[in-house]
């Protein structure tokens, strides 16, 4: 514990990633990464605040937390900062009505959002939903807008599943950016606003978190 103590001097809270850090997704939901269940338990027993900050955009927070609990993690929905709820706040603030190119598993996060007559596109890690037809539909919505707005939940290049590396939303974000000659707004890591909102939820300043 001495090494931990030194590294964590002045630190009052810890932000933990989920995918690829606590577990690798895959068949049957995925598998915990060795030692991670125990590490989360130890952190929660310590004096540190703990929050989970993920770019997971295939699943709603409810489904993600359900999966993690089945894998043995001590985690609740209120402890998770995820891009879909953050995007919903932005959409509401700016009066944006999205065309959603997202995985069915995360669609419930957008239930309260008006998606009629779309004036922007929200793209998330849609997995097999990234068909040509769905990508083309998103492109056609964007290209007919006077000022196309593309909001991307994260900009990851790829992620690891138990079966291998998988293309992430960032690749498809780049495809739409290029086709429309625009730059996407990224909601999620590495956006500073996203980290700030997680810190606010912990009641900490940046220098107090690890």
């Amino acid at each position: 514990m001495d090494a931990w103590g030194e590294r964590l001097a002045g630190v009052r809270g810890v932000l933990l990633d989920i995918s690829g850090v606590l577990y690798d997704g895959g068949e049957g939901g995925g598998t915990p990464i060795a030692g991670s269940v125990e590490a989360v338990a130890r952190l929660k027993q310590s004096r540190l605040k703990v929050r989970f900050c993920t770019n997971e955009s295939q699943k709603s927070r409810g489904k993600l937390v359900g999966l993690l609990r089945r894998l043995g993690f001590d985690i609740s929905e209120g402890e998770v900062t995820a891009p879909a709820p953050a995007a919903c706040l932005i959409l509401k603030e700016r009066g944006l009505r999205p065309h959603l190119l997202v995985h069915d598993g995360v669609r419930s996060e957008f239930e309260q959002v008006d998606t009629s007559n779309p004036n922007c596109v929200v793209i998330a890690d849609a997995g097999d939903g990234f068909s040509y037809q769905n990508m083309n539909k998103a492109f056609q919505v964007l290209v007919q807008l006077e000022k196309p707005v593309l909001i991307s939940l994260g900009k990851g290049r790829y992620y690891k599943e138990t079966s291998g590396l998988m293309l992430d939303v960032g690749a498809y974000m780049k495809a739409l950016e290029y086709a429309c000659g625009i730059e996407a707004e990224v909601v999620g890591k590495p956006s500073p606003e996203f980290f700030k909102s997680a810190l606010q939820e912990m009641g900490l300043e940046a220098h107090q978190a690890q």
Copy 2:
């Protein structure tokens, strides 16, 4: 004819695009663009050399020419410069064995190419073939190579069909470039080498062609 005469002073040959210039693709093959059948006929009756230079990568030259002839154009396979045959020359010269992410309609152009144990990826306008699964397979081939080589048949953002605008190969090229942190080699327009090969086939210098 006076206006034509002035514009074409010193010009000995004409390179014509096909998709979006001679015809728009779509249901049932597509439709000629108004006046284009007659324009090709007039050019061919003139003193000018005529060659067709296309980035069409969904169809083999044979199929493309068959379609254009049915639409009324006077065109033969030997008059067409297209990216797939140009890519085959490059693959042969450099000992590259491609994983092909291409439309079934153009696969016959690669019949003579060794595709075993791939050491590069060739991407073309695959249309509905741009599924997540197919894109991920191409990504997985690239990411395991020490020096990933991605050859893209054109880099168009989108093209027009009678039913609307459609995402072109360039968007998917950008997706793989971003995911792998590489830059694709483009075979087709606007690559100068591609135009040069078309000019060579006409026996003309750049300043002699329009």
